[in-house]
Each structure stands twice: as C-alpha cells, then as structure tokens.
C-alpha cells in the first residue's frame, strides 16, 4: 500500500524537520514496515516537456509519423503513432532510460526502419488517466526542457507499506488510520476525519433506497443513499493527483471519489447507476448464478458468496467488485452510494474462489469497523457536492444496522503490564499512550480499565496481551533493556535420537567418505513410473508447484539417483547419503489432533548411494559402509547380509540383501537394475542402501554400553584355509558355522573369493584367516589341529565343502 505524505498531513501535524526517512523509520519501528519512500518527482524521472518542431509522414507506415522534438538540450527524432500530434505542441517526452509508471522502459529503437530516440506519452502511459486516444498535450506556457514532475507541480512523498505487515490491522488500510498512529508517535494533534457542514446533509426529497438483508449474519451494516443530478465527468486535477500519487488510476469523478474516500478512511464504497434499481437486497449467491463484472469478465459466482441484488438479479459481488450493468456510465444522472460492512470470512472465501483480489476485498477481509460507513458516505457526499454542486441527496440514507460493538473494558493490571514488559514505565505514560491511540482508560486501584475503540475492537485488540503490545510498541521495543531470565538450574535431558543422527553423519562423512545431500520431499509421477510403481499408492499434494514435485517421497532412492545423474558428469566415482523423512498413506506415530487420529506415516530413513564404474565394486563398497556404520555404532555386533525372498523392483535379482544387526532387520542393500539407472539417465553402476532410522535408534537404545575386552597375553595363531563349495552356498550361512564353532576359534576373516580356473564349474573357493587364541595359555599346534580337523569335517557335512589344496 502506498501512503501520500500530503494526504497524511491533511489529518495530522507532521513537524517539518522530520525527514521522510525518519518518518519511515518511525512507522517501521513502532507500527508497520515501510519498505521505502520515493519523492513523486522521481516517478517521472527522465520525462521532460518537449516542443514538437515538425511532423512528417513515415516512409513505410501510414499510421506512424516522424516527429522532431525540441527538449532544450537537443532535438530528438521520435517515431509517433498518435493521430493528434501536431507541430507547435508542448508534449511530455520520455527520454531514453526513463521507466514509466506502467513499467515501460524507454530504449533507443528502430520502428519500421526509422530510428526513434524516445517516446511522446499518452495520459495512460504516465499513469495519469485512462486516455490512450492520443498523446497528452500540455499547456502552451509549459517550459521546454522542464522536468515533467515540476510542470505538474508534484511535490508529494510516497511511502510504500508492506501489506503483509498490515494483515492484522484493518484500521491501517487508510491514510486516517496511519495519521492516528503518527499522532500517537509524534505526540501531535489529530484532526477529526470528517469536517462537514451539516446543512448539506439535508435531503431534497424522500426517495430513500429500499434495503433488505436476506441473511443477517453476512452483513453487519448496510447504508445506501440515492444521489441525483450527478454526471460523468473527469475529476479535478487535485483529486487525480492524489490518486496517481498512491498508484490508483483516475477513471471518472464519481468512481474516483469512492476510491479516494477508501484510501483516506479505509472504508470501500461502491456507486451503482441508480437507473432501473428499485431496491437493494443482500443475500448469499445460489448455484449457477453469474455476473459480468466491471472488468468486463463474465464470472460464475461461487456458491454462498455475498451478493448485492436488485431483489432478484445480482448487481455486485459484495466487497469485491461491482457489475458492469449497474456501473457508472455516460448516461448516469443518479447513483446509489453504498457504504457497508460485510463478513470478512465470506468476502475472503469468495475472493479466493474467484481468484479476484481487489482493493476493496483486501480491506473487507481484514474485518472493518462497522462504524466507518457513516463517516465514509458523508465524506463522499461532501466531495460529490464540491465537484458537482448541482447534485442532490434524493432522500435520507437507509442505514441497516446489524451489529453491537459495546465491548466491556479490558481489565489490565498495571503491575502485570510492567512485569510482562520488564520495563519501568509510569502509569501516566501508559494511559497517555493508550489514549493517543484512541483507547479510553479509567483507573480502578492499580487496574487500567481499557475500552477499545471500535476500529480496533473488531478483531485486533480483544485481550489484555493486545493492550500490552500497544504500550510496548509505542514505548519502542528497542527502549526495553534486555535482562537475563533467572531460572532454576535443570539438567538437559539426554537426546539419543539427535546423538545417533550426528554419529551417523560423522561416520559416513568421515571414515565413510560420503557426501551428505538434502533432497526434496516431493517426486514426479515420471520417477515413480520409471521404478514401475503405481502412483495411486502414494501420497501427493493437492496444489503442487511443478510436475517435478507432486508426490510425497516414499523412499530416498529417487532423490539420490537424481543426484548421481547430475554429478556423473563431474565425478566418476562417489558416494552420497541422506537422512530424511519418507511418507506413506498408513497411520504413523504423530497424533493429528485432540480426537486421537494419527497423521500419515513419516518415518526417517537413512539412504546411502555408491556410484562407480564397476558393479561388484560399488556393491561391495555399499556393504562395507554398512559394516563400518555397524562396527562404529555397535562394536560388539556384526552386520550380516541375508538373502531376500522378495527383492525390490529397482534391484538386480541376487544382488540385493537384507541387513541384520544383533538379529534385528535394519534395511537392505542392493545393486540397481541397469534398466532403472538407464531410465534415470545414469551411466555409472549404482548401489543403494536404505536403513530404517527408527530401527537403528531402537537397536542403539537396546545395546549395552561399550565394554573393554581384555586382550589375551598369549599369542594368536592364524591358520589360512581355503574351502571349495557350491556357488549357491551363501557366505553368511557358512561364516556363522565358522564363528560359532569353537570358543577358541575367535575370528574367521574372508580374504579371497575365487571362481573359475582349475575349480569345477558351479563351485567357488573362499579363503579364510582363522584365528585361534586362548586367554589363559599358549595354544599348541596339536590342540589347534584337532579343532580345525573337526571344523573341516563339520563344513564337509553341512555344506559339502572341500579343502582347496591346489
């Protein structure tokens, strides 16, 4: 929203010594955020008064002319399309580099083969009116070369307010509300909004508008008055200037007045052409109703929008936009002026459904003071009478009042107020602040009884904490000195989840050499299809922002694959990991609300991805990382890989294994199917690990704390043995037999796997370092020979394993 300093000065005294920057800071530090300010002259930067020296036809375009324009410093050649350009005119010329209010930036250009060094502007291009019939012709006395803003006599300063910072303050959506704030901050007097000669409120006749509220809940107030002997005319220059200053487009005097009163007071008004309207009726729209709005669009009205009707047909969408049929037009002689308050939620819903936000709807949806219509209509009438002296009030205004705003005073204990602020403040100062903002304050012992003004009572100030904020912000947050809270010393509770997260991150990025990534929580439908997954089985967004991000991720695989695709052009071998939530349409752990329903599942997963040139190498590295993680987190346990009955669709059959530690399934590791990597545009071989973080956490919590294991004083004996087995025998089964075989056989470490060569087809060789050690003595060779002979026999019995002796 834009604020005109001149307009603010109509209502409140602003000392001359205050600069626009200081004024902006004052509002920013105490009320709302001022995004910046601009002198109005800057708006017409590089727009000057020029004199047309000559006009000649364009050699290759009938409707264009070649114009020579004197701008004092030089004479410019400009190609102009306006029919009304003529020699001798004084005209506004936008020089090269000018940025016009409509956003157009002027550049040197070639138009149909002729060079053009600027533009002669029409009224609409300068934001000064709707006219685009031809260029704007200035008065003959206009000084050639003069800045256009100076010619117009524009001396206003425009402040831009961040609308978001106004979302709770309906009362600040007009200049008068802002003036009130400034009065409180500057401690200068505020003029009453309305200063009117009561005599002009006397109606000529008894032609009052019939108003009916069909639904009382949607319209706290509806005031309508008929005004005769009006006409379509341009606004006077001061009014146009005020509108232009704050970015509103002048249209015609009647419309401009309603807009101007809204900008002053914050109360949107609407003027209907009175012809053919016998009565006004306010109701909710019914299915199928439509209205051609002022902007010429035929709009289907969302059901249950508040509409203004003539008793049957819609005339306007209440609080949003009027209809074209009842709009002010050339034939208008009589209007119905509407000043009303509509239900904020209903206006907001309708505006959202119509995707139509207007200056009026933005204000109504903030909840407006229902007392405003009475001053706003009078102000509008005052201006109409001033601009069209022959205008007459046809009858008394019809004022349907449907609200009560007599709030009980809020009891604010003054010592509570001081305590909550942590600031020493006198009672007198607090009362003074509140009164300058329009609150009425009485005192009962040390309790302030604060009556909220109607413009704040609607929604904004309803509890004592709101009063606290009023005092705090006018005092200034920066004037309250910081002070440390004095609280009882308490132990920070242990946080195993956070600890585990950090451990995992450190292990994987440290010894693991993996890089941590954060991927989006959303996937495209295409990525699900590539994995042969049925999209209907997964959660998705109602309102996705792009087709890349529609479905909620149900694993970390897709994001990591996309990371590999991106990085394969710069790196040939790398590993990544991500720790993040996945989403599934199943009940999860978090409650949804007090009713006890559960939110969808959103557990955390740990995903690892290894990419490189060789399948076996990446798969082996992935498993090595799992072992590293397990070994570091739980030194007393060993990670085991077990064959899977049902391998996931993305994995190569037989190149996928379940991951178990201490008998608990934690996830799986697999080599990506080539078809899948290809479909993701990946040329490298890829292995993927997915671990369920909750299971890792449960396991961690159940693990005994680390214990030192005594190192034996007696030497270990390592025997190397190679077994030949059928290639279908799984390592994990064989290994278990070895390590559980005898208490003196401490370790069995696989150091070589061999196939082919002299080995029979369909068999493979595993070579192990078998470590024998006792805690209480040096083992003898004979002792070990006996154990090992038994072991070899056991392997033969169970796996048909042979000793490889060649």
């Amino acid at each position: 929203m834009y604020l005109s300093l001149n307009c603010l000065k109509d209502f409140v005294k602003i000392p001359k010594k205050i600069t626009p920057t200081e004024l902006s800071d004052l509002l920013t530090m105490h009320t709302v955020e001022v995004e910046g300010w601009q002198a109005q002259s800057q708006i017409f930067d590089r727009v000057v008064v020029g004199k047309v020296l000559s006009v000649s036809p364009h050699p290759s375009a009938d409707r264009l002319r070649l114009v020579q324009v004197d701008v004092k410093k030089e004479t410019l050649a400009i190609v102009c399309g306006a029919p009304n350009v003529a020699q001798g005119q004084r005209v506004p010329v936008a020089l090269i580099g000018a940025k016009l209010p409509n956003g157009l930036i002027i550049k040197e250009s070639i138009i149909r083969g002729e060079k053009s060094f600027g533009m002669i502007c029409a009224e609409d291009e300068l934001g000064l009116g709707p006219d685009h019939e031809g260029i704007m012709v200035l008065a003959d006395h206009a000084k050639v070369g003069q800045n256009f803003a100076d010619y117009l006599g524009l001396d206003d300063i425009i402040l831009e307010i961040d609308n978001k910072s106004l979302s709770n303050r309906g009362d600040l959506w007009g200049h008068y509300g802002m003036a009130r704030e400034l009065g409180a901050l500057l401690k200068t007097p505020l003029r009453p909004y309305l200063q009117i000669n009561e005599s002009i409120l006397q109606p000529i006749g008894k032609d009052s508008v019939a108003v009916k509220l069909e639904d009382k809940n949607i319209c706290p107030r509806y005031l309508a008055v008929k005004i005769n002997k009006v006409k379509m005319m341009e606004s006077p220059r001061w009014l146009k200037e005020r509108l232009v200053a704050v970015g509103a487009r002048p249209i015609n005097a009647l419309v401009d007045i309603t807009n101007y009163v809204m900008l002053e007071s914050g109360q949107p008004l609407h003027a209907f052409d009175a012809s053919g309207i016998k009565k006004i009726s306010v109701r909710l729209s019914r299915a199928g109703e439509s209205l051609e709005t002022l902007d010429g669009k035929d709009r289907l009205l969302p059901e249950s929008s508040i509409i203004i009707t003539d008793g049957s047909e819609p005339l306007a969408i209440a609080g949003i936009m009027g209809g074209l049929k009842s709009a002010i037009n050339d034939q208008t002689t009589s209007i119905i002026l509407e000043a009303a308050t509509f239900d904020a939620v209903a206006v907001r819903k309708a505006s959202q459904r119509l995707n139509l936000r207007t200056e009026a709807s933005m204000r109504f949806e903030k909840t407006l003071d229902p007392n405003l219509p009475s001053v706003a209509w009078q102000r509008a009438w005052q201006l109409i009478k001033e601009i069209m002296p022959e205008a007459e009030l046809a009858g008394e205004p019809t004022d349907v009042i449907n609200f009560k705003l007599e709030s009980e005073p809020l009891a604010v204990d003054f010592s509570w107020l001081k305590k909550k602020l942590g600031y020493k403040l006198s009672r007198k100062d607090a009362i003074n602040i509140l009164e300058r903002l329009g609150f009425r304050v009485s005192l009962s012992k040390n309790v302030l009884l604060v009556t909220t003004p109607t413009w704040r009572a609607v929604k904004d100030v309803v509890i004592k904490e709101d009063v606290l904020e009023e005092v705090a912000r006018i005092v200034g947050y920066n004037n309250i000195a910081a002070s440390s809270p004095a609280v009882a010393l308490s132990l920070l509770p242990d946080n195993p989840e956070l600890r585990l997260e950090r451990n995992i991150q450190d292990i994987l990025s440290g010894a693991g050499g993996l890089h941590e990534v954060y991927n989006y929580s959303f996937l495209s439908e295409a990525s699900l299809t590539k994995l042969n997954l049925e999209p209907t089985r997964y959660l998705k967004l109602v309102n996705p922002i792009s087709e890349q991000h529609v479905f909620l991720r149900h694993n970390l695989l897709v994001g990591l694959l996309q990371n590999v695709r991106l990085n394969q052009f710069n790196y040939h071998s790398f590993g990544l990991f991500e720790l993040g939530r996945i989403f599934l349409p199943l009940p999860g752990d978090y409650i949804k609300d007090a009713k006890g329903e559960l939110l969808p599942y959103q557990g955390k997963r740990l995903g690892l991805m290894i990419a490189g040139a060789d399948s076996a190498a990446v798969f082996s590295r992935a498993k090595g990382l799992v072992e590293l993680l397990s070994r570091t987190l739980w030194p007393q346990s060993v990670a085991e890989f077990t064959a899977l009955e049902n391998s996931p669709l993305w994995a190569q059959p037989n190149q996928v294994a379940g991951i178990y530690v201490a008998g608990r399934e934690l996830g799986l590791v697999g080599l990506l199917e080539n078809k899948v990597t290809t479909s993701f545009g990946i040329k490298l071989k890829v292995a993927f690990v997915e671990l369920n973080f909750q299971d890792l956490l449960t396991l961690s919590n159940s693990m005994p704390s680390r214990q030192y294991r005594e190192v034996s004083k007696y030497p270990a004996v390592v025997r190397d043995v190679a077994f030949v087995v059928d290639e279908k025998i799984l390592y994990n089964d064989f290994w278990r037999l070895l390590v559980n075989f005898h208490p003196l056989l401490n370790q069995a470490e696989l150091f070589d796997v061999y196939q082919g060569g002299a080995l029979a087809a369909g068999s493979k060789s595993w070579a192990f370092h078998l470590t024998y050690q006792a805690k209480d003595r040096t083992l003898t060779a004979e002792e070990i020979d006996i154990i090992q002979a038994d072991l070899i026999q056991a392997c033969r019995d169970r796996f048909d394993a042979q000793i490889r002796n060649f």
């Binding site: 910072s165 904490e465 606290l468 929580s521 309102n543 922002i545």
Partner: protein
C-alpha cells in the same frame, strides 16, 4: 685358511673400489657378506679346523669381517649420498590425496546453533513435516480463513478427512512443534525445534518451497519481553560476534503477542550499510514474540501461571549469509561441486 681369507679380502676390496651404484653394491653384499655369502661360507669351514687353528683363524676372520663390513658401510654411505644428490626430490610436491566426505552446510549451521542453545539449557525437539491444519494453524491461533494464512502459501496433502475437506498440510513453519512440545513436556520448557518446512511458492535464486527453520521457545513463570531480548542478543553475538547489536520492531505473527522482528547489525559492514544488508546496516534474521495466551492454552498451559517467548530463524538464510551463498536452490540441488565446499 688365513690365505683364503686374505684372498677373499683382496677380491672384495678390489670389487668394492669399482662399485658405481647402489644396486651393484647390493649384489656385492649378497655375494660376500650375506648369510649365504662367501665370507659366511669360509667362517663355516672354521669348525673343521683343530681347536688351536680355529682360534687363530677365528680371530683373523673376525678382523677381516669387521674391516670388510666397515669399508662396505663407508662406500654405501658415499654412494647413498651421491644417489640423493643425483635424484632431486621436490619437497614441495603434495602428499597422498586422502578422500573425505562432507556434511551439508545446513547440517553445519544447525549443529552450531543446537550446540549454542544447549549451553543456554535448551533441548532439541523434533516434529512432523506432514502436519495437520490443527497444529500448523488452529493451535497457533490462526483459525480457518484468517488472513494470516495468506502470509504462508501452504501445500495441502491429497487426503480428505471425514468432512470431505483437506486438512493435512506440509508444515509451513517449525512452530507446529510448539504446541506438541507443550502438550508432551508441559511447563517449564526450554527447547529449540529445527527442521524442514514448506511453502507453496515458485522457486528462484531467493525463493525455495522447501527450506529449514529453527524455532525456539522458553516457558516459565514470569518470563517477559526483556528476557526474550537477552536471549536474542546472545544469539546475535554468537552468530555475528560480540559487537553485534539487536534491533526489534513490531511484526504481526498470530501466535505471539506482542510480536516482533529481530534484526542484527550487518556483520559485513558493521552497520554502515552494504550490498548484503541492502544498505540498511541491519540484517532481518528472527521473528519472535511473547507466546499468545491462546497458544499456551492449546498446549495445556495456564497463561495466568506461565508465560513465555518464542522465536524462529530461517537456517537457509543464515547459511547463505555465513558462506556467501547467492542461490537458495543450491541447498537441495545435490551438486557435489557445491557440497564439497563446506
């Protein structure tokens, strides 16, 4: 025997004089001085001699052995030196390249703050990313159709409730965890709640629909505005150094009353005004306020007994300022050329 030893000595010394390089020297060592070399062979023959001869020859043999070894060592040392001079070793070449992994910059920034708040006694809590409208809005004093919902464009999840309405969101703020934390732990409470949040808006260099926030809250008896300022001042000093100043101004957030924005003096220009702070001298970092009594009530805490403050930062913004990152999309982009810089 003595003769044999002298012959061997002479042969060895002659050969030694002609040695030019270390490999030849090594061959010589193998031939004469090694365990299976000629000298050992001769010494082995000593056992066949009579006791007297053995003693005499033994003594001589030892003298020869020592001499040969000494001369050998001298030559080895000389050749070694020559070799070092001949082969120039560049001491400035880099050592082995040891690969390491990198943590995400947001992890680093998040940890830094988690550790900092731990020193003030704040615990770290986690909350759901897919959140009900109740915890994301209603419980935070944002009823349905409140204009404040405009402040945050919300992603809704395509799963309707029994009333045939969408009531599941991707949380727009970590504040959703406030009421959950109060319900779970009650008062007093000191916690931060970092995490991933979502806004339904188009992405560009400055806007992301998925980013990170860190929320904090303190609830106790008699917690006031001045207390909040002291914690936020400490945060500023932690982030940007001991000279950092805090500036606060009113800002509307439905879940706090009074509500405020916190700005810190720009660390780059020390408040003088520069490109990073858009020439204001201040960096807008934090949103904060005293917890609204309705929010306390939603968390089951009596606002007449307890009060509190809450605050929140955007972690992406902090990381961007800290590392001079100019495009917010890099965080979720997964490009190793970016990630390997932290």
């Amino acid at each position: 025997m003595k003769h044999k030893l002298e012959k061997l000595r002479a042969e060895f010394l002659t050969a030694l004089e002609n040695i030019q390089d270390l490999p030849a020297l090594r061959d010589l060592e193998l031939k004469y001085l090694s365990r299976k070399g000629e000298l050992s062979g001769l010494l082995g023959e000593l056992k066949d001699l009579s006791v007297e001869l053995r003693r005499e020859a033994g003594e001589f043999a030892n003298v020869v052995k020592q001499e040969l070894q000494t001369r050998f060592n001298e030559v080895q040392l000389t050749l070694g030196k020559q070799d070092q001079v001949a082969m120039f070793l560049d001491a400035t070449i880099p050592g082995d390249k040891l690969e390491r992994g990198y943590l995400h910059p947001l992890t680093l920034v998040r940890r830094e703050l988690e550790d900092f708040f731990a020193t003030l006694g704040f615990s770290v809590l986690d909350g759901p990313e897919l959140e009900s409208e109740f915890y994301n809005f209603e419980a935070l004093n944002v009823p349905a159709h409140h204009p404040a919902r405009d402040m945050q464009d919300t992603f809704y999840v395509d799963l309707k409730n029994k009333q045939d309405e969408y009531d599941l969101t991707m949380r727009t703020q970590t504040s959703n965890t406030q009421v959950r934390a109060m319900q779970k732990y009650g008062a007093p409470l000191k916690a931060i709640m970092p995490g991933r949040v979502f806004r339904c808006e188009a992405t560009d260099a400055r806007h992301e629909h998925t980013f990170y926030q860190l929320e904090g809250m303190m609830i106790d008896k008699n917690v006031n505005f001045a207390h909040m300022k002291s914690v936020l001042e400490a945060v500023g000093k932690k982030l940007y150094g001991p000279e950092t100043k805090l500036r606060m101004r009113p800002k509307f957030y439905p879940f706090v009353e009074p509500g405020s924005n916190g700005e810190y003096t720009c660390f780059l220009c020390q408040g003088q005004g520069c490109r990073v702070c858009k020439h204001s001298g201040w960096l807008e970092i934090v949103g904060c306020g005293l917890v609204h009594p309705n929010v306390l009530r939603a968390g089951g805490i009596d606002p007449e007994q307890y009060s509190g403050f809450a605050f929140g930062f955007g972690l992406n913004r902090l990381a961007m300022l800290k590392y001079n990152i100019d495009d917010v999309r890099l965080f979720n982009g997964g490009d190793l050329r970016f990630l390997k810089q932290f």
